[in-house]
């Protein structure tokens, strides 16, 4: 689960990580109130969307006067922000963050992530902040420091002090810097985050260190332990179908194509989308109904796929293990009847109770074609779309 900058800053403040407070504004009428709270200018007006690269996309503006705050707020609120991380369709800005501007002399980059190679959290840090870390990793990898964190003990104070000095931070701030890095790691581990990122971390004129930005991603598996924060999810930022699927215990991800997929198991679901692409089609989604798919889950999955108007044909690929083919077949039949399915449907069933499943489908009066292997199924569904188009 991703959070907005203003939410991440609230968490940072709780963990003693220095940030500048600000006000969240959802409507232009609230700008006055924000200025009353933070009367000391100049200010920065920042778009609150779940995507990086906001500055370059025109989503972060400096304002010298109250009048300018009004103007910049009006410009950003309601804009469609397009950055490399939003995709070409961009993201509608529904919230902005108004915060007093901070004068700084140096920009750095710090993040805490889980490293799959070392199987521990690690800190990635660089004295060259402000730019995208992915870009830096390619152009100047030696400028990125990597600190391995003990997954039980956290970041040791000596490691934090070493990092502070390697980043070229002022010696007189060594204890403040060390504490800040330790607090970042503590926050990451306490809250089961998958990422904590500050870009830029800045050195102020007085030598103290401060987070100008804040990014926090909760790991979905850990979220069950942090129920208070689970309510911080912003549904505006997420795909409506993905959210609905999650509520029914389904794993759904929107893709760009036009062939709807219903599969059991994540690996098989990925492979099914791959097969469609390999045979010249384009998958509209990834949908895993789970290893132990119930009849209800299948019906629900079908409805979600059909709510996507781009879908021109549907491929069902089930390898029954725990999930039984007859149960899945009944789910398909129920859903097709309920929604009045008119799109071409290709079904491939294999595994537990496959004969029963085939029988149910055959007797249902449903229009579909049956495929006996995965490749055959993918080819058939691609051909069905082409046939419908010609």
């Amino acid at each position: 689960m991703k959070l907005h900058e203003y939410q991440a800053k609230e968490i940072f403040a709780k963990y003693g990580i220095p940030v500048t407070p600000g006000a969240v504004v959802k409507h232009l009428s609230e700008v006055d109130e924000a200025l009353k709270k933070f009367p000391q200018g100049p200010w920065v007006v920042k778009a609150q969307v779940h995507a990086g690269g906001r500055g370059k996309a025109g989503g972060v503006k400096f304002a010298k006067t109250e009048q300018e705050v009004q103007e910049k707020s009006a410009a950003i609120l309601g804009m469609t922000l397009i950055s490399p991380q939003t995709g070409p369709e961009g993201k509608l800005v529904k919230k902005i963050f108004i915060t007093p501007a901070v004068d700084y002399v140096k920009e750095l980059y710090v993040s805490v992530v889980l490293d799959r190679v070392n199987r521990t959290p690690i800190i990635l840090a660089s004295a060259e902040g402000g730019t995208e870390i992915e870009e830096l990793a390619v152009t100047k990898p030696e400028a990125i420091f990597k600190i391995i964190v003990d997954p039980i003990e956290g970041l040791h104070a000596y490691q934090a002090r070493q990092l502070h000095l390697r980043l070229g931070l002022p010696q007189e701030a060594i204890n403040q810097g060390a504490k800040l890095f330790q607090n970042m790691v503590r926050c990451f581990m306490d809250l089961d985050l998958s990422m904590l990122e500050v870009n830029p971390l800045v050195v102020l004129k007085d030598g103290s260190i401060h987070c100008l930005d804040a990014k926090v991603d909760f790991e979905d598996n850990g979220l069950a332990r942090h129920k208070d924060y689970a309510t911080w999810r912003d549904p505006d930022e997420e795909d409506a179908r993905e959210l609905e699927a999650a509520q029914h215990g389904l794993s759904y991800i929107s893709l760009d194509g036009y062939i709807g997929c219903l599969v059991n198991g994540a690996g098989l679901a990925m492979a099914t989308a791959d097969a469609i692409q390999y045979f010249g089609g384009s998958p509209a989604n990834f949908l895993d109904v789970g290893g132990s798919a119930s009849q209800k889950a299948v019906t629900q999955a079908f409805k979600i796929i059909l709510s996507d108007t781009r879908v021109k044909a549907i491929l069902v690929n089930i390898f029954g293990g725990i999930a039984k083919c007859d149960v899945i077949a009944q789910g398909i039949i129920d859903a097709a009847k309920e929604v009045g399915l008119s799109l071409p449907l290709v079904v491939r069933l294999e595994g537990t109770n496959v004969e029963k499943g085939k029988e149910l489908l055959a007797q249902s009066g449903l229009k579909y074609s049956f495929a006996s292997s995965m490749d055959e199924a993918a080819k058939a569904v691609v051909a069905a779309v082409k046939g419908a188009n010609s």
């Binding site: 893709l255 994540a266 690996g267 492979a271 692409q277 390999y278 390898f319 993918a378």
Partner: protein, 326 residues
């Protein structure tokens, strides 16, 4: 012969009184696995469907001599269950549970370093099966057939797909290891490949990977350097957009790393035959086996040096002596 799981496995189930735990314990027992009991804290001393229930792993091990466990404990308590198994004397831990926080697994991984003879498979995996002998996991037993193909995979149902294709070709499997779909798992591709490489009964291996991380690339390096057997592979997720988590917690392309394209290139560079579509896994295996046969014929048969021959003869004599004593 097989790897990790053979007829000597005495298996308990942690979380045996839960619906899934009980269902699969019964299925394993029906398949022929020696299920010797289960653990649910607070229900020790009771019995469920013929399984003895214990409060702790330690008690279960003492009473039954169990050496293997299958974990179905809910996600937030599963890390503790793994540690309990290791401390309780279990040597093979198969954790089926999905959804364990990655930070928990980072801690578990560090603590398990203190138990070098304990092997963890999973979490978030279908388990392990040695067809015809035993299964510890949730895979449907009947799709498997005893044979000589080793299979290692991060996925559940996609593994079944591969198994099915092998079985359809008239071949069988030595051992199938589902290593799990999480970012941190106990046994990685490279560990599994090493085991299968050393297993006398495994003649060829299918490796199924997916986007995210660099596990497959590391395994490819191992294959290139050390693998004596033909290897076929499939990488799932070629159609996945970057930055999206494709169902499995570990299946994500981030910062341009962990793409299917990169992985396929690494595997092919190691001489592995990579199936272009998931329906081609069986055929890729046949191709890999054919390729390696051609190579073997071309290579000269190895001759034993005098020293080695003497050594072998000595060992043989020793063994015979032992037999005669018995």
């Amino acid at each position: 012969m097989s790897v990790l799981l053979d007829k000597n496995a005495k298996v308990i189930c942690q979380g045996i009184t839960g619906t899934a735990g009980l269902f699969h314990s019964k299925a394993c027992r029906e398949y022929g696995t020696k299920m010797v009991g289960g653990v649910t804290p607070g229900k020790g001393g009771t019995e469920i469907e013929g399984f003895k229930v214990f409060d702790t792993v330690e008690q279960a091990v003492k009473a039954t001599g169990a050496n293997t466990t299958m974990i179905f404990v809910p996600a937030l308590f599963a890390a503790d269950a793994i540690l309990e198994a290791a401390a309780g004397g279990i040597k093979l831990i198969v954790c089926i549970t999905e959804g364990i926080p990655a930070n928990d697994m980072a801690k578990v991984n560090k603590i398990l370093k203190g138990y070098p003879d304990v092997r963890l498979i999973g979490p978030n995996c279908p388990g392990i099966i040695t067809p015809g002998v035993a299964k510890v996991g949730i895979m449907p037993g009947y799709i498997h057939r005893p044979g000589k193909i080793g299979i290692v995979s991060r996925s559940g149902t996609l593994t079944y797909e591969a198994v099915w294709q092998v079985t359809q070709l008239g071949m069988g499997q030595s051992t199938c290891i589902g290593i799990g779909g999480d970012p941190i798992v106990g046994t990685t591709h490279i560990d599994a490949m090493r085991l299968l490489n050393e297993d006398k009964n495994t003649e060829a291996v299918i490796m199924i990977g997916e986007i995210g991380g660099s596990n497959e690339e590391e395994a490819a390096l191992y294959v290139k350097k050390h693998m004596k057997k033909p290897v076929a592979a499939f990488i799932a997720g070629a159609s996945a957009p970057p930055g999206k988590r494709m169902g499995h917690a570990g299946a994500i392309v981030s910062g341009g790393k962990g793409t299917a394209k990169e992985k396929i290139a690494a595997l092919e560079a190691a001489g592995i035959v990579v199936a272009k579509s998931p329906g081609e896994i069986g055929n890729a295996l046949l191709e890999a086996m054919k390729k390696s046969k051609g190579k073997k014929k071309a290579a000269k048969p190895e001759k034993l040096s005098k020293k080695d021959r003497k050594k072998l003869e000595k060992e043989k004599r020793k063994k015979e002596k032992k037999k005669n004593k018995k």
